[in-house]
Structures are given as C-alpha cells and as structure tokens.
C-alpha cells in the first residue's frame, strides 16, 4: 500500500513533465508526438481504471463504454455542429459518463466479484451494439473522421501540451483521492467489505462514487483521444478495448498507483515495435500476460519495488 512517499511522487511528476514536455521542443516527428499522446491518454485511462480494480477491488470489463462515450461526445458534436464545439463535447462527454455510470452503477453494484465483471461487460456491449448499428447517426462501423477542433486547439503542438497538462492534472487529482481518507476507505472495501459496513460506512456508496469518478476520467481520456487521432470508431466501445486497458494495468502493476501508467507506456511502445516485425502480436502479448499473471503478478513496477526492498534488506543485513 502506498500512502506515504510523496517525494517519490514528485520525481514521477517531474520526469513526466520533463520527458513529455520536451518532446515537441526536440524536433520530434508527428509520429512521436502521437505515440506520446497515446501513452498519456491510455495512461490516464489505465490509472482511472485501476482506481476501480487495484484500489477498490472492482474488476470492470466495461470501462471502454465511458472511454467511447467521451470520444463520441466530441466526435458527434464536431460532426454535427462544427469544430468550435470541441470543448463543449468534452464537457458533455464527462457529464454523460457521470449520468450513465450512476444509472448503470446503481444497477450493477448490487452484485460483486465475477458477476459484477460480467455485467460491466454486458452493458459495454449493449452500448457498443447500439452505436454500431445506428450508423445513420453515429457512422457505425465507418466511424467519424475529420474531428478537428477549431481555434488554438487545431495546432497540434498546442493540443499536445494541453493534453499533457490535463492528463497530469487528472492523474494528480486521482492520486490525491487515492491518498485521502476516501482512498483508505476504498482499500478497506477491497480487503474486507463486511468489516467496512460493520463500522458504519456504506460499502455500496463508496463503490458507486469511485465507479462514477473512474468513468468520468475515462471519458475525458476518450474525448482527448478523439482530437489526437482526429477520428473515432466503434472499437473504442468494444470489450477488447476494456481488455487492453486491463492488460496495461496488470503489466505495470495494479498494486502501485503509477503502475498502470507505466504499463500503458510499455504496452504501447512494445506493440509498435513488435507489430512492425510480426503479425503474431496477440500470441506474444497473450504469453507475456500469462507470464505476468503466473509469475510476476505485481507487474513491472511492483516487481521492481519488491526487488528493491529485497536488495535493501540484503544490504542492511550485510551491514548489521
């Protein structure tokens, strides 16, 4: 559990800011900017997702629903009303995600464990199927292209920096939440729900709150993604997208707050590198996942931390 260690945090923020912030200044190509943006947004999505699983113990296989709602709010607004409505679309996406997550949350937080997971999957697919089929309005399988915000946001570099700032701010907010009393409560809910209600706290209410918060930030990631790719597609809502964010989180380590972000970065970079060489990416990532789940369940970051503590205690033993 990570409650203390705020100077560790500071280093993470600094690295993030410096590395990502300097990319446009070092003459990076638009491919590198896109890669970095994808890492930032998937990273935010993964951190938001992990608030549900790693922190609260709720495995949702349907966060793609909110990610897609964010993307489609922006996409539909721009398609039908024009580029000036980008920010409005972004706001609408977050509001829609909040409303949907409250409605769905009330329905599904009645059950727990694997049942909960299946239900999140089901709702995600319902929304996907509607969007896929309603192609007269949403473009269906063709998606929507030409999503270009107007004004200063139409400049790729400006958009990139705004994305960076929004992502950092969002992850910072989630970090604060995770270390607040509410965060402690959520961890207790994960570890022992009956004890929590025994001391008079409402388990359900805590879970609903974090579900809504996680979903709203997922939508934010999706909205910003629409502006990076300048297009959206129903795949954003499909369950395999939910699966990808879960893979990223596990790869980085669900027990660490920043683990999912690192996992997202590693996943995306490796996907591009491996994808260029072979068509068997699913096999490779499947095997990597099996290795992680079976042998390194703490993920990259978690295992590094464990290794570090072992080394430290070895050194301490040696000295003492």
């Amino acid at each position: 559990m990570e409650i203390k260690g705020s100077h560790k945090d500071f280093i993470f923020w600094a690295v993030l800011f410096i590395v990502f912030g300097s990319l446009p200044l070092t003459g990076s190509s638009s491919y590198h900017l896109m890669l970095a943006s994808h890492v930032l947004l998937w990273g935010l999505f993964a951190v938001a997702f992990n608030m549900l699983w790693g922190v609260t113990g709720m495995l949702s296989f349907g966060q793609a629903l909110y990610f897609g709602v964010g993307g489609y709010s922006v996409g539909l607004m721009i398609k039908y009303l024009g580029g000036a409505w980008f920010v409005a679309g972004l706001g609408l996406g977050m509001v829609a995600a909040a409303i949907l997550s409250i409605a769905i949350g009330l329905l599904i937080i009645r059950v727990s464990g694997v049942f909960f997971t299946v239900l999140t999957l089901a709702f995600g697919q319902l929304v996907w199927q509607i969007t896929f089929r309603w192609y007269e309005f949403t473009g269906g399988d063709d998606g929507i292209q030409g999503i270009i915000p107007s004004g200063i946001l139409s400049n790729k570099i400006a958009y990139y920096y705004i994305t960076l700032v929004v992502v950092i701010a969002s992850i910072w907010l989630l970090r604060r939440l995770s270390r607040s009393p509410m965060g402690v409560l959520l961890r207790c809910v994960r570890q022992n729900p009956s004890r929590v209600s025994f001391v008079g706290q409402s388990v359900r209410f805590a879970q609903l709150r974090i579900y809504v918060i996680s979903s709203v930030f997922s939508a934010l990631a999706g909205s910003l993604m629409a502006g990076i790719d300048n297009s959206i597609h129903t795949d954003m809502l499909y369950w395999t997208t939910s699966g990808e964010v879960i893979l990223m989180s596990v790869l980085g380590g669900i027990g660490q707050f920043f683990g999912p972000f690192i996992g997202a970065g590693v996943f995306i970079v490796i996907q591009d590198i491996v994808g260029a060489k072979t068509e068997y990416w699913p096999l490779i990532i499947g095997l990597v996942m099996m290795v992680i789940v079976l042998l390194f369940p703490r993920g990259l970051v978690g295992e590094f931390q464990a290794l570090k503590s072992r080394l430290q205690s070895l050194i301490a033993d040696h000295r003492g």
């Binding site: 329905l107 599904i108 089929r133 596990v250």
Partner: protein, 286 residues
C-alpha cells in the same frame, strides 16, 4: 416459434460448458469460446485426415478440447487458486488464453475458411404441420435437450456430480473429507471445455470454420449464462430458449433493432432478477 429453436440450441450448447465451469467450478473461463473454436477445427482436422464419419469427428473434437482444457487447468489455472484477487486474475489468465489459442489456430490451420459438411442422412428436411424443418437442426435440438437432461441428472443425482458441486463451494472442507480436490477441479474444467468443443463441432456444419470465432461466441454464451443463472443447466437451457425465441420474434417485429435485443433482454434480467431467472442462490452483497 419453431425458428427460434435452432438458435436456442446453438446458444445453449455453447453456454453449457460455461455455466458448468462458472457456476459449478466457480472458475470464469473467458476462453470458453476458444475451446468451441478448437472443437470445430479438431472436427475438421479429424475428417480431413482420417475421412471418418461426422459423429466420430464430433467425439474427437470434444475429447481434444477436453484434454487441452485439462492441460490448461493443470499447468496454469491451478497456480492461482487461493490467491487474493483470484477472480480477477482468473479472468485475465483465461483472457490471455483467448489471445494465445486464437493465434495458434491461425498458425496451425491458416486463415482460409474451412468447412464441414452435414452428416449423411441429415442433409435434407422434413415437412411437419406445414413447416419445413431441416433434419440436422432437429438432430442438434434433440442432442441439446438430451444434454441438459444428462447434465442435470449427473450434477444433482450422482456422487461425482455432488462432489463437483461441493468442491466448488468449499475446497478446504472437501480436502479435509479426503476428496482429491485438484483432480476434481481439473476434471470439471476438462468436462466444461469438452462441452465447448462438442458445441463447436456440432455447430460447424451450419457455418464456416473461421479464425476469430472464439471472440465472437463468448459474449453470446455469457448472455445466456447471465439470463439463466450461473451454474444452472436448466436455467441455461431455458435462458437460451427465451433468448432464441425473443430474437426470432424480434426479427419479424422489429427487424431494425433485432441485433440489440439480446443485450436488452440481459439488461432487463439484471434489473429485475440479477442472479438470473432461474438461479438458486442470491448473489447480492452485504
């Protein structure tokens, strides 16, 4: 009305293994659809390599899927029993099985569509009460019904069935009672994947054998299991029946939205009876 039966049976066949492993074994096998796909490919390969008749190929398909399932359980799934977050890691592990199996199938059999013909004697149709009923469809409807009867009987009336159910509920007590729990889990998992393999082989003559089938089929079987109640074979059968009929009617009445209807039914079930329409126990939390 009758037209929904074939779909209902196909849905039930593929959901049966999932409801067994999930409801009885308490393991969520996300890769269940992949074993369905393996069954179809094994059946194809058996026919292609040995020119056997269809039913032997179906048996081979089930056995093959069962063996692979048992290997997967023994080598991999077993290592995460008893871990904290077991449910979550199980889902993840079986999700990675989907990725691995799908690509292995592509490597071994390639991407072209394979085909299995209907068995001799079941290629035509019969006229009954003014309706045309393809004989192969009738055969698998019959097999589906037989399966639900056999499964229900085995689970509730025979000793192995009761042991399987009890082991799922409390492994430690069963171990204390001298039951070989690891073996039981492996056998239950293998039976479930075997059912998946049978389903894939039986459905194959009605479709083409294509890669990616694992991902296509898992969502539909999940819906059936959710509607019918996890672990309940009769529930799964009725759930599939309801779903099949609803879709059949939707096709006629609201053709524009028939593709969404199965999700709507599932959502309605969840609102009014989240443990499933026929579930024996409540899964509501504290």
């Amino acid at each position: 009305m009758v037209s929904g039966l074939t779909l209902a049976t196909l849905l039930f066949l593929v959901a049966s293994g999932l409801t067994l492993i999930f409801g009885v074994g308490n393991v969520f096998n996300f890769a269940h659809g992949s074993f369905y796909m393996l069954g179809a490919y094994f059946a194809y390969q058996t026919i292609a390599a040995c020119r056997t008749n269809f039913w032997i190929a179906v048996l081979a398909a089930g056995l093959g899927a069962g063996i692979i399932g048992m290997l997967a359980e023994f080598l991999f799934l077993r290592r995460i029993y008893g871990r904290s977050e077991e449910g979550g890691f199980q889902i993840l592990l079986t999700y990675s099985f989907i990725l691995v199996i799908d690509d292995l199938v592509k490597i071994i059999w390639g991407t072209e569509y394979k085909t299995i013909m209907r068995p001799e004697g079941l290629k035509g149709s019969v006229e009954l009460l003014g309706l045309t009923l393809p004989t192969y469809n009738l055969a698998i409807i019959g097999i589906g019904f037989l399966l639900v009867v056999v499964a229900w009987f085995t689970l509730s009336r025979t000793r192995p069935g009761r042991i399987a159910r009890a082991t799922a509920l409390d492994r430690e007590i069963m171990m204390a009672m001298g039951i070989n729990v690891p073996l039981t889990m492996t056998l239950v998992f293998g039976t479930a994947t075997m059912l998946g393999g049978f389903a894939g082989a039986l459905a194959a003559p009605l479709r083409s054998v294509t890669p990616g089938a694992g991902i296509e089929v898992i969502i539909d079987s999940l819906i059936v299991v959710v509607i019918g109640g996890m672990g309940n074979f009769w529930g799964a059968w009725f759930g599939a029946l309801i779903l099949g009929e609803v879709i059949a009617f939707a096709v006629v009445l609201v053709p524009e939205w028939a593709s969404v209807i199965s999700y709507v039914v599932m959502v309605l079930t969840l609102i009014f009876k989240p443990e499933g329409l026929f579930a024996p126990r409540s899964v509501r939390k504290v």
